[in-house]
């Protein structure tokens, strides 16, 4: 049985669900050209959810870990920190997508409703405490993403990538469920803490390891990590940029939480078995992501391969014990902020009937608009991990955690390939500053989008001031698990 005591902690989820339904209905009465109200409602919903989440941390009392709904849902410090990060990123996503949809004249209310449903899925993935709940959150997010990728339905590329995403996603879900059922068979429970306890007591963990392999395949697919990365570039390129913006940012944070709940919290007893698999996946992602990015000419594909290598770095942190988890958490939050800015840049430079998705479209950006060339410089340099920017520190913390655990070879290979990878980021900067401009395309984006994007890009510098406090949140979050 449940009552108010169980409903108050899930207030953020309820707010997002209600907002999604309201936006869905409001969308019926909105014409294609307008729709500011929809964006405003979505933003208001996210802000209210953020207030509801943050409220429990305002007082002097510490939030105690609450397991609700008969062990299906958990409200803990890690979940709340990640959720606040996701809300923050979703605000950028909403504003950039509005600009993009208006440009392409495909504005519909369903786009924002589906994004809000996806956000609900992300929140469930962050807070699930039972394999069923986690899986349902994942499917909710995945189903919304499939629809969002196919959103521009008159575009053949968009349809093709949605089809690929859907089929591969279904196979990955099947793998994940098969693995989960194996683990259920071995431990007799689906609840995170009970699985962990059952593994601790049993002598023979073979069946658990058997299930673990399949679960890992599913998780690696959803993250877009190396041997299961083939869908990432195609989907990133084919999807409308507004969708790419979404699937490259907030869901990555959810996938991190998903991996922590499953690997770190429930399967911690077989850490010795999964650490090798994770090490191989992480290394492969870093190598493949950086090498394949070198020869891309489409900037969306380039960012896709760069995502793969970033996911590799994030997974590397899983090997570094508690320190590593918090480094990974910091890494994925800052990465999501960079990624959203990178795709936001593509949207801002695009205008009616033209999409700035090739590297050549960035030629001579400095002559056309010095300010945005500088913004792009900040974003790209942060992705590459150049020192004064936040991207450098997130890489540094992950590597430090890994080295502390004695994985010297792993860390050095990762660094070598990160250096190789910085070549294509530098190429982008070179194109912007030293090449002759081919077009004199004006930037037509509205003032609001421009200023938000500038804010987002400047965050790469400004976050430096907050690194100690954000890292502190991450460390506290992992300690409180």
């Amino acid at each position: 049985m449940f009552g108010w005591s169980e409903l108050t902690p899930v207030l953020p989820e309820l707010i997002i669900l209600a907002t999604a339904c309201i936006v869905l209905i409001l969308g019926l009465f909105t014409t294609h050209e307008k729709g500011g109200l929809l964006v405003l409602t979505s933003i208001a919903g996210v802000v209210f959810a953020a207030i509801a989440t943050a409220k429990s941390h305002m007082g002097t009392q510490e939030l105690v870990k609450q397991v609700l709904f008969n062990g299906n849902f958990v409200r803990d410090y890690m979940g709340d920190v990640l959720k606040v990060a996701v809300y923050f990123i979703m605000l950028f996503v909403f504003i950039y997508s509005k600009q993009y949809l208006r440009n392409k004249n495909i504005f519909k209310g369903e786009f924002f409703a589906l994004m809000l449903f996806g956000l609900l899925g992300i929140m469930i993935m962050i807070s699930g405490y039972n394999y069923i709940t986690l899986y349902l959150g994942l499917e909710l997010l995945a189903l919304s993403s499939y629809a969002l990728v196919a959103y521009d339905r008159d575009n053949a590329q968009s349809n093709e990538s949605a089809m690929k995403y859907f089929i591969l996603g279904a196979i990955a879900s099947g793998m994940l469920l098969y693995g989960m059922s194996m683990i259920y068979g071995a431990t007799g429970s689906l609840q995170i803490d009970q699985i962990s306890a059952a593994i601790g007591q049993s002598q023979d963990t073979m069946l658990v390891v058997f299930g673990l392999v399949f679960v890992l395949v599913g998780v690696a697919f959803k993250l877009g990590a190396a041997p299961f990365h083939m869908w990432v570039p195609d989907v990133y390129q084919g999807a409308p940029t507004a969708t790419t913006l979404f699937i490259s940012s907030a869901p990555k944070i959810a996938a991190f939480a998903f991996a922590v709940r499953i690997l770190g919290q429930s399967l911690d007893g077989v850490f010795a078995q999964w650490q090798h698999i994770i090490a191989v996946i992480a290394l492969l992602s870093i190598i493949i992501g950086n090498l394949f990015a070198l020869q891309q000419t489409n900037i969306k594909r380039l960012f896709a391969y760069s995502t793969i290598s970033h996911i590799g770095f994030m997974l590397l942190g899983f090997l570094g014990g508690e320190e590593g988890y918090s480094a990974s958490m910091f890494y994925i939050i800052t990465y999501a902020l960079m990624s959203v800015a990178g795709f936001g840049m593509i949207i801002v430079l695009s205008c009616k009937g033209f999409e700035a998705e090739n590297i050549s479209d960035f030629k001579g950006l400095n002559q056309r608009n010095g300010w945005f060339a500088f913004m792009m410089l900040l974003i790209v340099a942060s992705m590459a991990g150049f020192p004064p920017l936040v991207g450098f520190f997130s890489k540094l913390y992950v590597l430090k955690a890994v080295v502390d655990q004695g994985f010297y070879v792993l860390a050095s290979i990762a660094v070598i390939f990160a250096v190789i990878g910085s070549f294509y980021y530098l190429k982008l900067i070179k194109v912007m500053y030293f090449d002759e401009s081919e077009s004199d395309q004006e930037i037509t984006a509205g003032f609001d989008v421009k200023s938000i994007l500038s804010f987002n890009a400047l965050l790469q510098l400004a976050l430096l001031l907050f690194i100690p406090s954000i890292l502190g949140y991450c460390i506290k979050a992992i300690e409180s698990l």
């Binding site: 008969n70 299906n72 369903e110 629809a147």
Partner: protein, 215 residues
Amino acid sequence: MIEYLISAEFYQILLFYVYSGILIGAALAVVTMRNSIYSALFLILAFFSAAALWLLLEAEFLALTLVLVYVGAVMVLFLFVIMMLDVKIKPKSGISMYTKVGIFVALLMALEMIMLLGKKMAHVLPQDDLVKHVKGYSNVKEVAENLYTQYILPFELASVILLVAIVAAILLTLRKRSDYKYVSPESQVHVKANKNRMRVVKMETEKGNYIGGDE
């Protein structure tokens, strides 16, 4: 020996293997059939065998729901869709390179899994313990109790997923035709006789320079 052969335990195990065999065979046929109508029909067979397995476990409610919902509603709809879509039957072609490699890898994986699990799990598999419920045991009550108390959150989430599926399906398929000659009854009703329907045009009469006549 004879006693075992006529016992209920043996009969149940026999039924289990028969239905499992049919289930696996039908599931294989679903993915290998060239004609998609046959695939759909085999899927129905697979659902029936799964329902029979549930009956063996004395889960009557689930078995009946499977038949009613999946066979009765979903599959019939599915068959309609296949028949409406005019799906072409693929001509027989040789096994492609991908299929060969795929089959090889699948067999290798299956072999590894059997080697890994077969020996160790043999003693864990249930031998011949029948599922027996006490008299008056209600399957429906058991399901309902779990679904609406223990798993209320996943249940609600599943309903949200269905909502998303509906929204996505409509979003991706609903098309407004441009050549649709639709007249809105609302605007028809609002037509005013002297404002919208008839227009009195005042024109100046032509003066001079008129053509024709015999001036």
